[in-house]
Symmetry: C2
Subunit: 456 residues, 2 copies
Amino acid sequence: MSSLQTAINARTSSNLLQLASAQSRSQVLKRIKIVLEKHKEQIFEANLEDIAYAQKEVEAGRLSQSLFKRLDIKGENEAKFETMLKGIDEIDMLEDPIGRISMHRELDEGLVLKRVSCPVGVLLVIFEARPEVVVNIACLSIKSANAAILKGGKEASKTNRVLADLIKQAILSVLDENSSSNNDCPEFPINAIQLVDTRDEIHELLQLEKYIDLAIPRGSNALVKYVQNNTRIPVLGHADGLCSIYIDQNCDINKAAKIVVDAKTDYPAACNSVETLLVHADSLSECFPAVAKALIDSKVVLHLDSKSKSALLDSGIDFNTNASYIVDAVPEDYNTEFLSLELAVKVVSNIEEAITHINTHGSKHTDCIITSVESNGEYFMNKVDAAGVYMNASTRFADGFRYGFGAEVGVSTNKTHARGPVGLEGLTIYKYKLYGIGQAASEYGPGKKQYTHRDF
Amino acid sequence: MSSLQTAINARTSSNLLQLASAQSRSQVLKRIKIVLEKHKEQIFEANLEDIAYAQKEVEAGRLSQSLFKRLDIKGENEAKFETMLKGIDEIDMLEDPIGRISMHRELDEGLVLKRVSCPVGVLLVIFEARPEVVVNIACLSIKSANAAILKGGKEASKTNRVLADLIKQAILSVLDENSSSNNDCPEFPINAIQLVDTRDEIHELLQLEKYIDLAIPRGSNALVKYVQNNTRIPVLGHADGLCSIYIDQNCDINKAAKIVVDAKTDYPAACNSVETLLVHADSLSECFPAVAKALIDSKVVLHLDSKSKSALLDSGIDFNTNASYIVDAVPEDYNTEFLSLELAVKVVSNIEEAITHINTHGSKHTDCIITSVESNGEYFMNKVDAAGVYMNASTRFADGFRYGFGAEVGVSTNKTHARGPVGLEGLTIYKYKLYGIGQAASEYGPGKKQYTHRDF
């Protein structure tokens, strides 16, 4: 099928989905779970084929270990697969994001305005490696009444294909059942979820802003940048996750060490891991050495500026034993998302310098202050321009599940539409519905009819 | 000043504005009004110069009459100028859009998440002709704590410059006063509002997505398209306003005529005027001829398809007398925003065909159904994909003032961020503030601490 036809199918599906009731969307979600469960052996088989092929790619140096690790859909004792299925239930149980009224206003007697949430329309989601994303995004899209075009990584192509086919099979089986029983939703679109296989298609789809309303790239910096630079479709997501933690003048040393170690080591490849540590000069003699020691104990390589290096030397840490964990920082380190057990360290003379550094070098993802002075915390949180601004908590909390959104399509560093972890709400927009009884705008104005502008 | 320096100034101002209290923003708004009032003769003088120059441009055929008409800032008995000043009060009195909490959730004991509205950051607003837009946008930006870079049309350059200088003077006078009285807001940024003069600067500024968060073009289709095609900054606005009205099978003939005439003739050059009339075949014999007659009486030229032309002929309208108001429609008419007293007419055999036509040819601005069957109205409103979907009311109501927003930055046909008439809310986004007491993310999970996810 041509990319244009795929996009047209998605748009047509989106038009039908505007009318899909919450019940019918829930029915499809439940059926998807049943069909996937029933055909799990088929999914595991395809997955094994992908893994076998990827193994060779890793050996040939054409695929990274980290991507390879994410390919497996089964997990130990099928735990990963079960989590994926449970995720469908969780999405199904979330409150319906469609049809919510955020404004209800009388403009005049008999002229009533409602602002009602509705799906964005057609989503293009591009991701790498993890095949369960097919199921996750398909379910989020169906829940929010959006049509979706999915493109996974070629390393998981066989698994992705089976999953997409099973999703279509589930939709078809609901349709069959409903057409015979005259049930709700005879028109649920079979092309609500489409999978495309080749990279060429992505380039073509990115040109079709007439049919596609939102592009969501999930994956490497290179993937996100490629999408951002090659489309006029609005892009939701983040290219970089350059998070910083600032250790203020006064703070609890133990808490500081615990937060920084967690933020760096819990999952170093994650976008919400810390990459830069800023230290107030007054915290150099006591707090910083304790934090540095805890980091080195966790095998973190510290890229130190001259002041922090001196402080560490003064603290009595053995530079010979720990030589492999201590390197001199270069300017580029402060613009680097290491995604590994490495951390850039810089000393600042006050909170203002820390904020300026973050607003200049950060990626507006998540930044944290560790302080025992609440007013400093508020000041930092107000003045740092980022999706997440934290006081005394690890940057790793920046995540849709942790925020209680149930599911997320990604984390956005955009300044418009949706920011931070994006759940179902980010897949909706609104329309204004105006109910009249024959009014003309020219009837209103000075000396004529007046608007009442009364909220219900 | 270079464009880069302008953008950096704006970003620095935006950082300061994050902390500007509602009181200080209000103080500046009030001062702007006072300063503009005090220097009105200076403004009128500059405006007369612009008008004199523009007059020559019109005579030479280099400026349109419609742009020329919008240049005057004074109006009869200074009425336009007074309206502009009154607009400052109105913006000042609107509820503060900053600091609103849209989520307040305990993630765990001592770990509290707040979603708080904040300014988008730096706006780039590009507009044509009407110089009062300088004041209007400056005040909206200040109210919403955004920094703004403004570029007006060169036809109003002298007036724009005086207005921008007076706005800066107002900010400076507040700063002077506060620095001596140790008052609130010693740091209100003098570069909060900057005016740029040349078109070259626009092209340069559109490349500076690092410093500019949102571009808002207001003006011709060509201007908006130029901005959309030349930047990676998110663009808010609409290139086209191709609104349609569909006359359903059953409807009140008088209301239909009244609504369609208003939507076409109240202000034909406006984006919310109707451009296409779709008529259900069953309404051809009675309703349509009455509507057509009312339109012709209002000097509207009808571009008729063969069926609507036959119906009009059958109705007994004199084609000879009205020859200049009856032309044969060509396919391109249904993609045309006439912006004048012309209307494309097409007959459809059912509501579905009307919806498909609108979703294919429309610009997602505002579309209306005229019907006496409420369920048809709801169906149409749900399935038409547009910022505004109306039942039995003129498309001309699509406007921030009419919706009761007090002020608007424009009308958006985007599918993300803000849709329809955009007021202060569209100039805000949110950040997530997380307040902890030293929590690490690795403390949570199966067999460990659990999230409470309890909304306050």
